[in-house]
């Protein structure tokens, strides 16, 4: 499962990486925060296949998940 990350989060997680498939975003977060403990203290948002998600949603093995800090464009 492909994970990409941006901004401040990319500095912690190192850009893009792969992990074993996770069934849903809550499980994914646990896996990622275990891999990168520094993420626990940081606010980040998730997008799945370029859509922002709220709450827990199911993932399939082709999902592209993005880890993003709060936006600061403009």
């Amino acid at each position: 499962m492909d994970i990409i990350s941006f901004g401040k989060i990319a500095e912690i997680a190192g850009g893009s990486f792969s992990i074993d498939n996770a069934p849903d975003t809550d499980s994914l977060k646990k896996i990622i925060e275990q891999k990168f403990p520094a993420l626990k203290g940081v606010k980040y948002l998730l997008a799945v296949d370029k859509k922002m998600i709220r709450g827990n949603i199911n993932l399939d093995k082709n999902s592209v998940v993005a880890l993003m800090p709060p936006f600061s464009g403009g």
């Binding site: 990409i4 941006f6 901004g7 401040k8 997008a47 370029k50 993005a66 993003m68 800090p69 709060p70 936006f71 600061s72 464009g73 403009g74």
Partner: protein, 142 residues
């Protein structure tokens, strides 16, 4: 879907060209333009010399297309143009250009204001504020 990104700052000449192209659109009565400029903020006592912008480009372009449709649905606009910088933009240079046109001023102005708010809140773009000593801090929109 339209790409909104421009490498580096948005030049005043680019803005003029954009304005000039509307002279043939004689159904337009008002244009509203917002320009975001990089501010030399003091963080502690270090001035911001530039902002380095990165984005999740594909997602930003898709999201902008959705916003565009929604704003076109809400206001009777003739045109809408959005450009955002990527990469380094020095303090004093322009990083965001939002341009709406309509038969009547109110619609152009309201749509422009709404677009600026939505671009800042909803597009996956990040600014890294650079200092003279090559240190930096990630910008946060409040």
């Amino acid at each position: 879907m339209k790409n909104i990104f421009i490498n580096g700052p948005i030049s005043p000449a680019f803005i003029t060209e954009s304005i000039s192209r509307h002279e043939s659109r004689t159904e337009i009565g008002g244009h509203s333009i917002f320009l975001g400029q990089v501010r030399r903020d003091l963080i502690g006592n270090k001035p911001v010399t530039a902002i380095d912008y990165t984005a999740y480009e594909d997602m930003a372009i898709e999201k902008m297309a959705v916003i565009r449709e929604e704003v076109f649905g809400k206001y009777p606009l003739t045109c809408m143009h959005i450009h955002h910088s990527l990469g380094k933009v020095e303090a004093g240079q322009i990083c965001l250009f939002v341009f709406t046109s309509a038969a009547h001023r109110r619609e152009a102005m309201d749509a422009c204001n709404e677009l600026v708010e939505r671009i800042k809140a909803e597009l996956p773009i990040w600014g890294k504020e650079l200092f003279e000593d090559e240190s930096y801090q990630w910008k946060e929109n409040i």
